[in-house]
Amino acid sequence: MLSNQEKMLIVQIWERLTPVAEEIGADALLRMFACFPGSKTYFSHLDISRGSPHLLSLGKKIVLALAEGSKDISQLTVTLAPLQIMHAYQLRIDPTNFKLLSHCMLVALSCHMRDDFTAVAHAAMDKYLSAFAAVLAEKYR
């Protein structure tokens, strides 16, 4: 459950990070690959080393999707419909990995925003990422 204040905070953070979407997204992914090596199994067809174009492009896509979703959280099911289908039928990434990436995204935000990533912002963002992940997994079964 997100309050209006929390929704605003979330929008503000993603607006602030959209210009560095590549950097944040790639950082979060690299952290996930380092901490949870099982997550790498979904990317065996890509070059996911630091600085690789594949990694940067993937990181950017993820952050931009998060930013887009944040603009109207009540409409997540509509906004994410194409991504839902892709993850359910094509990518078939086990949804436990969404939690792992969410955690690494929070760490990436914390490293980037330092003291600006307050406890209240952290709480709001954690709730948003959980909701996003839940919607993403909705069409799995």
Binding site: R31, H103, C104, S110, C111, H112, R114, D115, A119
Partner: protein, 147 residues
């Protein structure tokens, strides 16, 4: 027994040797109480936990945060014997405090994020992996004596 590489040992002991317990401890515990409010169930005697400001200004929370963070020291000093090191604390948390072991993971995630904010980009993926591995081993040890 957990296998630690030399690099991991260096990273972990390095983080704790530079740790500002008085800063990180309160921040980590208050963050846990704010981000995962159901964890407040164990702290009803701590006074005002009504909102984020109250939690962050609560002296009991701060003192307890420092205590809990120092609790990790014994793990750092006994990295090759973490299960035995935390056996007594595990029994305490299970039989006296009745804490759901899932809560240990929530707090350890908050510690990670607070340390990340402090270290900024020096908290690399490699550093995070080593630090999280250490916390995960401690969390597992704390849950070991539950039955």
């Amino acid at each position: 027994m957990v296998h630690w590489t030399e690099k991991e040992r260096t990273i972990i002991t390095g983080i704790f040797s530079h740790m500002d317990y008085e800063d990180i401890g309160p921040k980590a515990l208050s963050r846990c109480l704010i981000v995962y409010p159901w964890t407040q169930r164990h702290f009803s005697c701590f006074g005002n936990l009504y909102n984020a400001e109250a939690i962050m200004g609560n002296a009991n929370v701060a003192a307890h945060g420092i205590k809990v963070l120092h609790g990790l020291d014994r793990g750092v000093k006994n990295m090759d014997n973490i299960v035995a090191t935390y056996a007594e604390l595990s029994i305490l948390h299970s039989e006296k405090l009745h804490v759901d072991p899932d809560n240990f993971k929530l707090l350890s995630d908050c510690i990670t994020i607070v340390v990340a904010a402090k270290m900024g980009h020096a908290f690399t993926g490699e550093t995070q992996a080593a630090f999280q591995k250490f916390l995960a081993v401690v969390v597992s040890a704390l849950g070991k004596q539950y039955h």
